[in-house]
Amino acid sequence: MKSQTITYITLVLASVLMLANGAAANTPEAQGFAIAARSDRSDLGFGASKVELQMIMRNAAGQQSTRTLLISTLEKQDESVGDKSLVLFDTPRDIEGTALLSHARIMDPDDQWLYLPALKRVKRISSSNKSGPFVGSEFAFEDFTALELNKFDYRFIGTESCGDLQCDVVERLPRYQNSGYLRQVAWVDQTDFQLRKVEFYDRRGDLLKVLELGDYRQYANGVWRAHRLSMRNVQTNKQTELLYDNYVFDVDLTERDFVKGRLSRLR
C-alpha cells in the first residue's frame, strides 16, 4: 500500500515536472538553449584530442599569410568548468615553438600562459582581452575560447534552410565580460545538430563578421568536427580561413600535459 502511494506521488511529481519543462520549452530562450545544448553535447565525450591547424589570412588586397599550429585539448566533463587547451605554433618559423596554454572558465577570465622560446620564458598573461584579434587573424580570442555552452544566453529565432539542410536559427548573447559582441546569430542544422554559420554583431549592433563552417566529418567516437572555418570581416573585407587536419582522439593526455611547467618541455 505504502509503496503504491510512493509510486503515485512520484508519477504526479514527474508529470508536474514534465509540464513545467514543456511550458519552459515553449519560451524562445529555453528553445534556444535546448538547440545549443543539443549541438554542444553532440560533440562531447571525446576526452582529449589533437589536431593540426592551418590558418590562412587574406587582406582586402588579397595578400596572404599563413600560420600552422598544433592544438591539444583536454575535455572537462562538467559543463560548469571549461576545457584545457594548448596551442603550439609551428610556422611562421620565427615563432616556432611559441605556445599558449589556456584553462578555460565559464564566467571568470580564463587562466593563460604564453611560452616564448627565444627567451625560454613562461609568461602568465591577462585573458581580459577577449575581443582582440588572435595572432593577427579575423578570429578574436573569444571566438576560440567562448565555445562553452554556458558562456551565452540563447533565444530561438526561427527555422531557415541552410544549403541542403534545414537550420534552427538561434541568437546568442555573451554572458561573460569584455566581449566585443553585442550579439551573435547562429545557424544549427536539424539533421546532425552542427553549427553551420554564425553572424557576429559588434558593440554598436552592426554586422562585423560572418563565420561559415564546413567539411564536417564524424569520427569513430561519434563526435562531429568542422574542418573548414571561414571568417570574413564584412567591415574591412579581411578574411581568415582555418583548415583542420589529422584529428586524433585516442590520445594519452592528462592534466599534467596542461600545466605551465610543461611549456618549456613541449619540443
Binding site: E52, S65, P92, R124, S126, G132, V248
Partner: protein
C-alpha cells in the same frame, strides 16, 4: 646483422625524409624537426669611440647562424635537441662565438623528467631586470640587455605534482661571461681580459653548482622560489697584472630568490627579490612594478602596455657593480596584432641617485613569411666620470638586424 643494418638504414632515411619535409608528427612514430636561422646585424654608433684601442669606425657588422635539431621518440617520453649558435663579428673578435645553446637528452615518466646536457632556463617575471634568473651565464656581448644566454651543462630533475613543479639542478661546468674585446665598443675603459679569469673556488670552472626551484600558481598569483649555491654569474672586475686590462673574478655565492606575479584584468603586478651571500657581504635586491594594458586602442587592433618598475640593490663596493641600484624604468609596449606580428618596446631608465639614464627602443616586424626585420636603438646619458655607465656613455647606437628563418 644485415637485417639490423637495413633497418637502421631505413630508419635513417625515414628520419631524413621527415627532416627534409619539415614534418612534425602527432604521435606513434619518432619525430624529427630541423630549423635554422641566419641573422645579419649592423650597428651604427652615433659618437666617436672614447677609449684607446677601440675601432675608429662608427659601424660594426656581425653575422650569426643558429640551427635547431630536435628529436622525440615513438612513445613521446624521450626527447633530444642540439642547438648550435655561431656568431662572427668583423670588428671585435671577442664577439665571435661558437656555443651549444642546447645539447641534451631528456627522459620523462609519470610526472618526472630527467634532463642531461646543455640547456637554457629562464626564471622570473619582471621586464626591466632579471634578478632571479641565474642558471645560465649572460652572453653580455650579444646585447647589453642581458637577455642573451650561453648554454649551461646540467643534470636537471623536474618533478611535476598537483601542488607545483620542483626542479633540481646540478651544474657541473661554469660558463664565463663574455666581454667586448680591445677593439670593441660598449666596454670598460680598460678592456676585460677573459683569457685568465680568477675563481674563489680552487675547482675553478669545474666547481659543481646546485640550484633548486619551486614554481606554481594559486588563482591569479604565480609564484617562484629558488635557491642557488655556487659560482656567481656576475664577476668582479679587478685590475689585471699588466695594468692594461681588467681581470674577472668569480666569487662563490649563495642566493635565495622569489618571483611573484598577480594577474588582474588589464594589470600585471610583478616582483622579483633576491638575498645574496656575495664575496664579503650579504645583501638584498628587488625589482617590482606593473604592466597595464589598454587593448584595441581607438577600436583598432593595437594594444598599448604601460610598464613601470623600480629597481633596488643594497650591495656595496665589494660586490660586482650594478647599474640597477636605485632606478626607475618606464616603458611602453605596442602590439599591432597584425599578420606580421609588428611590435615595439620603448623605455627609459633613470637612476634616482646619480641621474644616469638610458633610452631603449626595440621594434620588429615580419616581412613575408620567413624574414624578420628588427631595429634597436640604445642611448645613454647623465653619467659623470665616477658613474658606472660612464664607460659606455659614448656608445649610443642604432642596430638593424635582418633574420632569415628556414
Amino acid at each position: 646483422m644485415l637485417m639490423t643494418a637495413n633497418r637502421a638504414l631505413s630508419m635513417l632515411f625515414l628520419g631524413l625524409g621527415l627532416v627534409l619535409s619539415g614534418a612534425w608528427t602527432l604521435a606513434d612514430e619518432p619525430s624529427w624537426d630541423l630549423s635554422a636561422n641566419i641573422d645579419l646585424t649592423s650597428r651604427l654608433f652615433t659618437e666617436e669611440a672614447r677609449w684607446p684601442g677601440q675601432e675608429a669606425r662608427d659601424s660594426q657588422f656581425s653575422a650569426a647562424a643558429r640551427a635547431e635539431l630536435r628529436w622525440r621518440n615513438e612513445d613521446g617520453n624521450q626527447r633530444a635537441s642540439i642547438v648550435p649558435l655561431l656568431r662572427f663579428d668583423e670588428a671585435d673578435h671577442e664577439r665571435s662565438l661558437l656555443d651549444l645553446q642546447e645539447a641534451y637528452w631528456a627522459w620523462e615518466t609519470d610526472g618526472f623528467e630527467l634532463l642531461i646536457g646543455a640547456n637554457t632556463v629562464f626564471w622570473g617575471v619582471t621586464e626591466s631586470l632579471h634578478l632571479v634568473d641565474i642558471i645560465n651565464q649572460t652572453d653580455a656581448v650579444a646585447d647589453i640587455d642581458g637577455e642573451d644566454k650561453l648554454g649551461q651543462p646540467m643534470v636537471n630533475l623536474a618533478v611535476q605534482r598537483d601542488w607545483g613543479l620542483v626542479s633540481f639542478y646540478a651544474l657541473p661546468y661554469f660558463r664565463e661571461r663574455t666581454f667586448a674585446g680591445d677593439k670593441g665598443r660598449l666596454r670598460t675603459p680598460l678592456p676585460v681580459d677573459t683569457t685568465n679569469p680568477e675563481f674563489e673556488s680552487a675547482a675553478g670552472s669545474r666547481h659543481v653548482d646546485f640550484a633548486l626551484r619551486y614554481s606554481h600558481y594559486i588563482g591569479n598569483v604565480d609564484i617562484g622560489l629558488s635557491l642557488f649555491r655556487g659560482t656567481g654569474r656576475e664577476p668582479r672586475l679587478q685590475p689585471g697584472a699588466d695594468g692594461l686590462s681588467l681581470q674577472p673574478y668569480y666569487d662563490q655565492i649563495g642566493q635565495l630568490g622569489l618571483d611573484l606575479q598577480y594577474t588582474g584584468d588589464a594589470w600585471l603586478w610583478k616582483l622579483e627579490a633576491i638575498a645574496r651571500q656575495g664575496s664579503a657581504s650579504t645583501f638584498a635586491a628587488a625589482v617590482g612594478g606593473f604592466e597595464y594594458t589598454r587593448y584595441q586602442v581607438g577600436e583598432s587592433a593595437l594594444d598599448i602596455g604601460l610598464l613601470l618598475e623600480y629597481q633596488y640593490d643594497g650591495r656595496d663596493d665589494t660586490e660586482p657593480a650594478t647599474i640597477a641600484d636605485n632606478d626607475f624604468f618606464l616603458g611602453a609596449r605596442l602590439a599591432f596584432n597584425d599578420t606580421q606580428d609588428t611590435a615595439v618596446l620603448a623605455g627609459v631608465g633613470y637612476d634616482v641617485h646619480t641621474g644616469e639614464n638610458y633610452i631603449n627602443v626595440e621594434a620588429d616586424r615580419r616581412l613575408g613569411q620567413n624574414v624578420v626585420l628588427e631595429l634597436k636603438a640604445r642611448f645613454f646619458g647623465g653619467a659623470s666620470a665616477t658613474d658606472t655607465t660612464y664607460s659606455i656613455a659614448s656608445d649610443d647606437y642604432l642596430q638593424l638586424q635582418l633574420s632569415r628563418y628556414f
